[in-house]
């Protein structure tokens, strides 16, 4: 609007100058109004800048927030379907691109159509004959623009994918930086990156050089328009001896530049959008994943007996059965051991209990109710799993212990860390519970990480405690102590321990031996030793070594 006003006022002043009007009062009045409008324009312009900046950035913030929340709602299977490095770009760089595109395009997007309509209407009013040129060029231009935008999108999707690879390579380099140094493999890493980097350069050059043609096309179209007007105009004026046409041509040519300037702006917006389109698509993929686990149950978990009835499991998008027809009964408060070779399905089995993954066939009951009848929240808060790879976070030891429930009593923290036998080494540290843990817990040893993760699981005060190979990095004495503590303090809790060590589970109330996804045998250690099965062969082998090493 202010644009039109100013144009009008300028005309007035210029006209005044043209008519040589020397009425100074009038001159100053007009001049004053112009200055006033200039100030108004400033105000409007500043508000435009303010609102555009905020709108675009709020858009980015909200998108990122929604994306993060979406990822939080993912099931484990959803999480498995994305590579982490790709998700990182989707939540940082991709959002930045979209927000930037919005900020940069909003003003021209609103402004140029208005300009376009005004310029076009003036042109048509002035001369219908000359407007024919626009009637041909404009649709052509629109088609070209759309064509380019459509063709540009897949190119930019490739660019973002190449960026994912850069992310992947740098992340892997960073995680393994000490390993790379120790092996003097910097040159190899540089070489590896070189191929990813030059690939990215190639793909990005392709994509950006494609849309760079946009500016040449717009210029070419403008020139074609000018030539078209000249040819049509000349023809008409010469054949009809029409002098008016010549004047029309003059003003027409000046409209052309205005018209095409606004079209140029629109085309730039188009190209910005087609670049951000790739990012939009990638963010959409994140939103399109939905958890296959339905959370319809309302029951609260109270009893901790577990029943598996003919349960089979296939990982989503896989074909082979990881678990095949598993059945067993665990009574509340018992201590259960699961043993079996790597890949026999131990971890998959326990992950089904908390509904981290959805079983494919059969039924699982907790406290005589199907697990689907419980709310996910109730399942997750009453079943604590200490995962095989203990994941610690940047922060203090205390932050990591309290993880997930901030309102924990200090007494509980101390008790849990005593049960998990991490109290002594925490007390050995300089700042005790406030000692800092680095990202991924790299500052702690494997055994320490396992014990902190165990204490963290205990602090959830679970009804069912699942320890997935949580003693693997502990020495025999510490393991013994922890197990005694668990029996003493958690007598009501059902404890399921996965291990490859007989010594860890031999005193369990029941041992489930898994073999290639099937239950090979179930029973106490004594019962299992009477059979001539896998358990016995592992037992004999491990006993031999134990007696050979510790009790000399």
């Amino acid at each position: 609007m202010n644009l039109l006003l100013k144009n009008g006022l300028n005309e007035t002043v210029i006209n005044n100058v043209y008519t040589y009007s020397l009425n100074l009062d009038y001159l100053f009045l007009i001049g004053g109004i112009m200055i006033l409008f200039a100030l108004l324009a400033l105000l409007l312009g500043l508000s435009t800048a303010y609102f555009t900046a905020n709108a675009g950035r709020y858009l980015g913030e909200e998108l990122r927030k929604a994306e993060y929340q979406k990822i939080l709602s993912y099931s484990f299977a959803n999480l498995d379907s994305f590579r982490i490095n790709s998700l990182i770009t989707r939540i940082t760089g991709d959002i930045q691109i979209i927000s930037d595109a919005f900020c940069q395009s909003l003003r021209p997007l609103l402004r140029s159509p208005v300009q376009l309509v005004f310029a076009l209407s003036f042109a048509i009013i002035m001369s219908k004959d000359l407007s024919i040129v626009f009637a041909i060029i404009l649709p052509l231009m629109t088609i070209l623009l759309f064509f380019m935008a459509i063709r540009a999108k897949p190119r930019f999707i490739k660019v973002q994918r190449a960026l994912d690879k850069i992310n992947l390579t740098t992340e892997e380099s960073l995680v393994a930086i000490r390993f790379i140094r120790a092996n003097a493999k910097e040159d190899y890493e540089n070489e590896k990156f070189e191929s990813v980097n030059s690939e990215n350069k190639k793909i990005a050059t392709k994509a950006t050089s494609f849309i760079a043609f946009n500016s040449a096309i717009m210029q070419g179209m403008t020139y074609t328009c000018i030539l078209g007007i000249l040819i049509v105009g000349t023809n008409i004026s010469l054949t009809n001896h029409d002098a008016n046409m010549i004047i029309n041509m003059g003003s027409f040519l000046s409209y052309v530049s205005q018209l095409l300037a606004s079209l140029n702006m629109i085309s730039n917006v188009f190209m910005t959008f087609s670049r951000s389109e790739a990012s939009k698509e990638r963010i959409k993929e994140v939103f399109e994943q939905t958890s296959e686990i339905e959370d319809r149950g309302k029951e609260e978990l109270s009893d901790s007996s577990i029943v598996f009835k003919n349960v089979s499991f296939i990982y989503p998008n896989h074909s082979e059965k990881v678990l095949d027809d598993i059945s067993f009964i665990i009574s509340s408060g018992s201590f259960i051991g699961i043993i079996g070779e790597t890949g026999s399905g131990k971890t998959s089995l326990v992950n089904l209990i908390s509904r981290y993954y959805e079983k494919t066939e059969g039924d699982i009951f907790i406290g005589n109710k199907k697990i689907e009848e419980y709310s996910l929240n109730s399942l997750h808060s009453n079943i604590a799993t200490a995962f095989q790879i203990p994941q610690l976070f940047k922060g203090t030891i205390l932050d990591n212990l309290k993880y997930g429930n901030e309102n924990i009593d200090e007494k509980d923290v101390i008790l849990a860390s005593k049960i998990a036998e991490c109290y002594p080494f925490i007390m050995d540290m300089k700042d005790n519970f406030n000692s800092l843990v680095s990202s991924r817990g790299t500052s702690l040893s494997g055994g320490q990480k396992q014990r902190v993760a165990l204490a963290r699981a205990l602090l959830k005060k679970p009804k069912i405690l699942i320890l997935d190979d949580s003693f693997s990095a502990l020495d025999r004495i510490t393991e013994r102590k922890i197990k005694d503590n668990l029996k003493k303090y958690l007598s009501d809790t059902t404890i399921i321990v996965i291990s490859q060590k007989i010594s860890t589970i031999e005193d369990a109330d029941m041992i489930i031996v898994l073999d290639k996804g099937k239950v090979s045998s179930i029973g106490t250690s004594k019962e299992l030793l009477e059979q001539d099965g896998i358990y016995k062969s592992i037992y004999t082998l491990q006993r031999k070594e134990d007696y050979g090493s510790i009790t000399k």
């Binding site: 100030l39 992340e171 950006t208 030539l227 604590a384 997930g404 490859q500 491990q542």
Partner: protein
């Protein structure tokens, strides 16, 4: 705050932009061509407008006025149109040429920046990585490099164009009327001033925006890696709040950054209208006083120039956004590139002295004169070390590991076991004393050579997105398939690899998340088996291998360590019981040493550990 702004940023901005331009130096000849192409492209526009608007229209009205026959008139006009066509075609061609050149230069600069980043990253001191998260560093490669793209791609050409236009218009103004042009100069100065101040603020917020983006990257990385734990422990709310806080900061900084670049446009538009109004009013007054030589015609063309004078500024403001965003990203990148690197002034390097596989030492250290065959003898001489000044981690550590012996370290967490190894690999530099490898101070050995002459196996086996085979041969890339399989068999990794879908060709993703800790360690041992260095260091290398497999690899490990010097850290005393020498570390000092038998007889600290009176970590 304003004071610190004034002091800190303009120089930084200038320095950053200059350094960024130094990346363009090598394209100078091409850039000169681009420069002329840009000028031509804009000239084509101006000349074209002149021909179409003035020449052809005049020809047309002349021929109408003179009643020229159609054939004659059209011939003259057609010639002009033809000239116009040629100018236009060349104009479009030069546009295509320079935009395509710029695209390529741009991507090449980004490529070089990334390359420099990685080169530098692999040279930085290890302590840098103790202080910065992975996500933070990754942000340089993506978000910061990305922020530079638009500037080189679009803005560079346009800036050249605007500067030429500004200079051209000002010259024309001066030629028409000196006094009147002072008004214009005044306003242009105002515009520059306005640009200067807003840019300074915008730069600050752009920098903040990139910093926050790096923090978001870092948080996203940590959260995504631990997402399953977050969900299992219902930490969603807290993780979300922390993430949202960063996200909120980003929004505020990014909005301010964009706002401060965008305020230029309305200021410039308003200033140029004020300029125009005042010029027009003063011009009319001058005219009435007969102070303009060329009269009313002069004033009108003067005013047209005044209007056009604003246009290049408008164009310029649109690109300030890009320049500032680029300089914020570039500043961060350059800061990273200026981080301290590892010291490496050794004069000894590793050379091959024999091709015979059975030869005692196939490699040697040499400083150009002396040739010292590699044997793997390590000695620490009164070594002191601290990560933070005045908080010593190691105090007066002295020991010798003669060739082909097994030396073990035990002690509780924080006793300094792993630090000893870090010093040996020269991740950190000793404060006092010295460490020797075959009698040479390790400071005098080239880093690369030192590290290639030892193999270090830690409790974390790092796996890369590649096949199992490539992961094993990572440490010795020219290993044959047979060697890889043989090494895996020795490390007892073969049996589980064969059970995988594609066996040795199975691709590992996400740092081998689908492998158990024990399997990973077996792969780590397979790697070490493949390497044939005279010195091997095991830092809790078998801590996660289950007892079943450990029994199996026990003999293999024995093979692996025989004929080599080994330094072993393990909490399982069974792993170290056959060591030639065991050192018990406590609080950075060696408190006991001897073989197992001697230590047990002593009934000291080791005995306590052995009998379980004291705990190991």
């Amino acid at each position: 705050m304003a004071v610190s702004l004034n002091r800190a940023h303009p120089q930084d901005l200038k320095k950053t932009i200059f350094r960024l331009f130094s990346y363009l130096k090598c394209y100078l000849p091409i850039l000169i061509i681009v420069f002329f192409l840009v000028i031509y492209s804009s000239l084509a526009n101006i000349v074209g407008t002149y021909i179409s608007g003035t020449v052809i229209i005049n020809q047309l009205s002349d021929s109408l006025a003179n009643n020229l026959p159609f054939d004659v008139a059209i011939k003259e006009i057609a010639t002009s149109c033809l000239v116009l066509l040629v100018i236009y075609i060349l104009g479009v061609a030069s546009n295509i040429l320079y935009t395509q050149i710029m695209v390529r230069i741009c991507q090449d600069v980004l490529y070089r920046l990334r390359k420099d980043l990685l080169l530098r990253m692999h040279k930085l001191k290890i302590s840098y990585f103790d202080k910065h998260t992975n996500g933070e560093i990754m942000s340089y490669y993506t978000n910061d490099v990305d922020s530079i793209m638009t500037m080189i791609n679009d803005s560079l050409g346009n800036i050249i164009l605007s500067l030429c236009n500004i200079i051209g218009t000002i010259t024309c103004l001066f030629l028409i009327n000196v006094y009147l042009s002072l008004i214009v100069i005044f306003f242009i100065a105002l515009m520059f001033l306005c640009m200067y101040f807003s840019s300074k603020r915008a730069h600050k917020y752009f920098k903040k925006q990139q910093d926050t983006l790096a923090k978001i990257n870092s948080a996203a990385e940590e959260d995504l890696v631990g997402m399953k734990t977050i969900k299992a422990y219902q930490h969603e709310k807290i993780s979300f709040t922390n993430f949202q806080n960063l996200n909120d900061n980003w929004r505020k900084d990014a909005a301010k950054a964009f706002f401060f670049t965008q305020i230029n446009t309305p200021f410039f538009v308003s200033l140029s209208y004020l300029n125009f109004s005042i010029s027009a009013i003063v011009g009319c007054v001058f005219l009435s006083l007969n102070m303009i030589a060329s009269g009313i015609g002069g004033l009108t063309s003067y005013l047209v120039f005044v209007r056009t004078a604003a246009q290049p500024f408008n164009l310029f403001t649109q690109h300030i956004n890009n320049i500032l965003s680029a300089s914020a990203g570039a500043e961060r990148i350059f800061n990273f590139l200026d981080e301290e690197i590892e010291e490496d002034n050794g004069k000894y390097s590793l050379i091959k002295i024999s091709d015979d596989k059975n030869s005692e030492s196939r490699y040697a250290f040499t400083d150009g004169e002396k040739i010292i065959p590699l044997r793997g003898k390590i000695a620490f001489e009164h070594v002191y070390f601290s990560y933070v000044p005045n908080k010593p981690i190691l105090k007066d550590i002295s020991f010798i590991a003669p060739e082909h012996t097994k030396v073990a370290f035990v002690g509780s967490t924080g006793a300094g076991k792993t630090t000893i190894i870090s010093l040996l690999a020269r991740f950190y530099k000793v404060d006092q004393g010295r460490i020797t490898y075959d009698g040479i101070d390790i400071q005098d050995i080239k880093l690369n050579s030192l590290r290639r002459s030892l193999s270090l196996v830690t409790q974390d086996t790092h796996l890369f997105t590649a096949s199992i085979k490539d992961n094993i041969s990572y440490v010795r890339r020219h290993s044959s398939e047979e060697e890889i399989i043989e090494a895996s068999k020795k490390a007892r990794a073969d049996y589980f690899i064969r059970r995988m879908t594609d066996k040795y060709e199975t691709i590992i993703y996400d740092d081998g998340n689908n492998l158990s800790q024990g399997e990973r360690q077996l792969l780590g041992l397979a790697r070490a088996t493949l390497l044939k260095t005279p010195l091997i260091i095991l830092d809790e290398a078998t801590s996660n291998i289950d007892t079943l497999s450990e029994k199996l690899i026990h003999n293999a490990l024995k093979d692996l360590l025989s004929e080599r010097t080994s330094i072993v850290i393990a909490h399982r005393l069974s792993t170290i019981k056959d060591a030639d020498m065991i050192y018990v570390l406590s609080d950075g000092k060696i408190i006991e040493s001897g073989n197992e038998k001697m230590l047990l007889e002593k009934k000291g600290a080791y005995y306590d550990l052995y009998t379980g009176n004291k705990e190991l970590a």
